[in-house]
């Protein structure tokens, strides 16, 4: 418990340093573009593959569980759509990105810490926390919503392909997709995504920034960052769903 409070205290002290005006905007803009490429663009391939197969599996499983002839096959499209928008895309993809992006952030900053690169920044008179972490947080908050929207789209294509293999016609699937659509679901998913993006980048950066030791410590920080981010994503998923949808 004391250790948890210690971590919380250090996290908020670090965040106070992070949230400050960048030393030089031109350098910050360059950093932001680089981070967008690292955390966003480089994750597109993974998100596409995962979303397609996830969507396909969701629709096949839905079709497989529809025993009653009274249930219309349009239900496959509807169930896939809602599952993907409400949970699979924002939460599952965020959990996977916590593994990919989170570990990359923690190990990058952790390596910089153990090789004294962060000390070198501090000695130059640069606020190292803000310089290194702020662009990562902003890049994830700006880019993750695009990734999640893309995941929803690709997931639905996957669901359609999965539906075809389970004898659901294209017309029925599309009709299900369009039936009773509530646009607020997208807003809800985006709110969750922004929270998850912040958790992944800031928590991973925290563990990287406070790495002590050598290469083993970097690996350990990276693992703890992924575990902590994943647990916090699940916790906030529950809290946000309770607040927004209850």
């Amino acid at each position: 418990m004391i250790k948890l409070l210690q971590h919380l205290g250090l996290y908020f002290i670090m965040m106070k340093k992070v949230i400050s005006t960048p030393e030089k905007w031109s350098v910050f803009r360059k950093q932001l573009v680089l981070e967008m490429e690292k955390v966003g663009l480089n994750s597109i391939g993974l998100v596409i593959i995962l979303s397609f197969f996830m969507g396909a599996v969701v629709s096949i499983q839905t079709a497989f569980n529809m025993f009653s002839p009274l249930l219309p096959s349009t239900l496959v499209g509807l169930a896939s759509r809602d599952s993907l928008i409400l949970e699979f895309s924002p939460t599952v993809i965020s959990l996977i990105l916590a593994g990919k992006v989170g570990s990359s952030i923690a190990s990058e900053i952790g390596s910089m810490r153990v090789t004294e690169q962060i000390d070198a920044l501090e000695i130059m008179g640069i606020n190292s926390a803000s310089f290194l972490i702020l662009p990562k947080i902003i890049a994830t908050i700006l880019f993750f919503p695009f990734l999640i929207i893309m995941s929803m789209g690709v997931g639905m294509i996957g669901a359609w392909a999965g539906g075809l293999s389970a004898d659901v016609t294209t017309a029925d699937f599309i009709s299900g997709l369009r039936y009773g659509f509530n646009p607020f679901y997208i807003t809800y998913a985006m709110i969750k995504t922004v929270f998850f993006a912040f958790i992944i980048s800031s928590v991973s950066a925290y563990f990287g920034y406070h790495t002590k030791g050598g290469a083993i410590a970097v690996g350990k920080s990276s693992t703890i960052a992924v575990v902590a981010s994943s647990i916090l994503i699940l916790l906030f998923n529950y809290l946000l769903t309770n607040i927004i949808l209850s």
Binding site: K24, Q117, A120, M124, G125
Partner: protein, 253 residues
């Protein structure tokens, strides 16, 4: 000039520095020597503000580093060039970008002006034309030289070097030592070198502080060092056979 006055530092119950006072003179290569674990690195980290002191004062040309605001400390730090033990070059940047980085952060120079300054610094450390190499492509000596170029690019008033020769062969170590010494004289800056390499001491030691168990036990220059009757200092200096033999030859002459 950098002055440390009555510095005390402890980690938990372990006292690392006890009542350390010394003046690091401008235009001289000041050396902090001592065994591993004697408190040298802690002292240098205190000088650059990476460790806070329990009591005492660090004065940069009369300005007490610990009594000024964080913003003023940042401005003062821009006048300090630091050479880390392993170089601490930014992995993702090329040699040119590494050296240009402080200029991009703190000056409004144009790209041409920055490049001109980078090339000047690279030429000064004999690494002309190596602009586009990445740190991973550099040898140990080249890494140190790039780190020196980065440390001097902002024309600092103070240059701090943490074990600049560690991991280098004797020939390259002498090149690095001489480079540090030449830069000190050329720009009339206050240079502090933290080392336990006796060759460095004999090459460039103008103003030396010997630290033992967190206390300054001896101060002087390289000539006085060999003739000192301080037992702890002699144990440290004449630990190697080479220096024992040198002393013996000196005495028989």
């Amino acid at each position: 000039m950098i002055e440390v006055r009555n510095i005390e530092k402890h980690f938990g119950e372990n006292y690392v520095l006890k009542n350390v006072s010394f003046i690091f003179e401008q235009g001289k290569t000041n050396l902090i020597i001592g065994e591993s674990g004697s408190g040298k690195t802690t002292l240098i980290k205190i000088l650059i503000g990476l460790h806070k002191i329990d009591s005492g004062a660090v004065l940069f040309d009369g300005v007490n580093f610990n009594s000024i605001k964080t913003k003023e400390q940042r401005i003062l730090r821009q006048e300090i060039g630091m050479l880390f033990q392993a170089g601490a070059l930014y992995d993702s940047m090329t040699v040119e970008e590494n050296i240009m980085f402080p200029l991009s952060m703190f000056t409004d120079k144009t790209e041409e002006e920055k490049l001109e300054r980078v090339n000047f610094c690279l030429k000064r450390v004999n690494l002309e034309g190596k602009n586009n190499l990445l740190p991973a492509e550099l040898s140990g000596g080249m890494t140190k030289r790039v780190a020196i170029a980065r440390a001097i690019v902002m024309q600092p008033k103070y240059l701090l070097c943490d074990e600049p020769n560690s991991g280098l062969d004797p020939k390259t170590a002498i090149i690095i030592d001489n480079l540090i010494h030449e830069i000190t004289k050329e720009y009339n800056i206050t240079t502090i070198v933290n080392t336990h390499d006796m060759n460095s001491v004999m090459e460039i030691g103008e103003n030396i502080a010997f630290i033992n168990h967190g206390e300054i036990w001896w101060t002087g220059n390289k000539d006085e060092l060999l003739n000192s009757d301080n037992k702890e200092l002699n144990d440290f200096v004449f630990a190697s056979e080479l220096f024992k033999r040198l002393k013996h030859e000196d005495e028989t002459c």
